[in-house]
Subunit: 142 residues, 4 copies
């Protein structure tokens, strides 16, 4: 993750009892649900209802996750989300799960999402309207 990533978006995570596995930590698969939660709230804040109605949507092509510190049942955590790059048909997202009690970054996730048309299944360009809307969230130009 780039050292200079600034996060404009943060969502508190509500931890569930069965998020915890036999190791006593939030399971690594459940951690991905937390990042999904961040993605959904981030994109809904930008696109609102259109996110679910539009034929054009974003799907996840690739995820890289670094587990630095385990997340525990009684932790207060939040997921921070930023889009850091927008290409022709894809974008790069960076996310953190942070212990809000002490601002410790516990897990990092970098993902690539690609534009896809739900009806045809084909890749689709990230249109300028989307770039502008994401740029407004990120306070920069894409």
């Amino acid at each position: 993750m780039e050292q200079n990533t600034v996060f404009q978006h943060e969502t508190s995570v509500q931890i569930r009892f069965n998020d915890i596995d036999l190791m006593g930590h939030v399971n690594n698969a459940t951690i991905q649900e937390y990042f999904d939660l961040g993605r959904m709230h981030y994109l809904r804040q930008i696109f609102g209802e259109r996110l679910f109605i539009n034929a054009d949507t974003l799907i996840i092509a690739s995820i890289t996750t670094d587990f630095m510190v385990p997340v525990l049942l009684l932790d207060q955590v939040a997921v921070r989300t930023a889009v850091v790059h927008i290409g022709n048909k894809s974008l790069k997202m960076e996310q953190q799960i942070v212990d809000v009690a002490n601002d410790t970054v516990k897990v990092i996730c970098r993902s690539v999402m690609v534009g896809v048309n739900k009806d045809t299944g084909n890749a689709t360009p990230i249109v300028q309207e989307w770039r502008d809307a994401i740029g407004q969230m990120e306070q920069r130009t894409f």
Copy 2:
């Protein structure tokens, strides 16, 4: 993933109804449960009951997943697992989710697992006994 990875271990995956999300695909977080399933069966085949009893265990430090083709509810899929490298205190694992009907690789996962002592929480070396046991599975020397 290295082109020449040979997989000695494969586990069939039983897909559950609620593995599928609103997109009509197995959710990306659930895909990680499938890779966990492969890890567990792989390690249990090598270490048996000791896997859960030993103070020394392996935890996931990092995961990179590439989603190439969506997994669907009625697919017949299996997860293939191989250890491809063993360092001092960590090992590298490669995995695939394969549609067994047509041998299509749908998802790829590369992960780094580190040895850790459950009691102390400290990193612990991958001992020679483990290297030998994994090497026997992989038909090579670590």
Copy 3:
């Protein structure tokens, strides 16, 4: 559960690592995934692809579950499913999660499913064709 319920249908359950919660047992919510698995395989065996294509489908109206013996990570369990009654617009299903190593019944579930039209959301009668198909599975007449 009626003492005389005979189960014609059984599905093996593949237990996943994160099915287990902090208590060391399969979590009660996950147990419902096992019963869903039984329902899906039962209904697919009867209705095949039509189960997912038809506008008329079955949804769960009510569930009663008795947890007698915890299910553990290394258990070999199966879910048994039977339809025991068909009313005008609903049916009653009985299910068991059984430890196949010793035929111990660990969890029991009785559920009511109602016919519903996916397009209108309205309740819909269980048609005679369905009664006959389920009756063939259960070796009785509905």
Copy 4:
């Protein structure tokens, strides 16, 4: 559910993207995670850290759930929890999942929890200290 149940405890539920299944509703197994969430917050508010440290704990013996109205991805829901009866070694809990936008009760759950000693696995009485603590929450005497 008794008509006169008064709920002193309510927890907001954070809905996750993959809580939704192919039917477009929160899956019935996931609904149980919501009730678990209510249980955990209810019991933690009463017992605090002791809930997880004590050898004596409560496990779920039986659950009856009535699904009246589906829960959807964009709903704002909360889970309400009350203990309505305490016997010698067990207690009865009633819960609702409520759409807070219009105060609609969407799902109802009645459960029986039994006292159990984690070390021995034996049933254990609900001691007077617990009765008093729960009674204080419920503003009545058990």
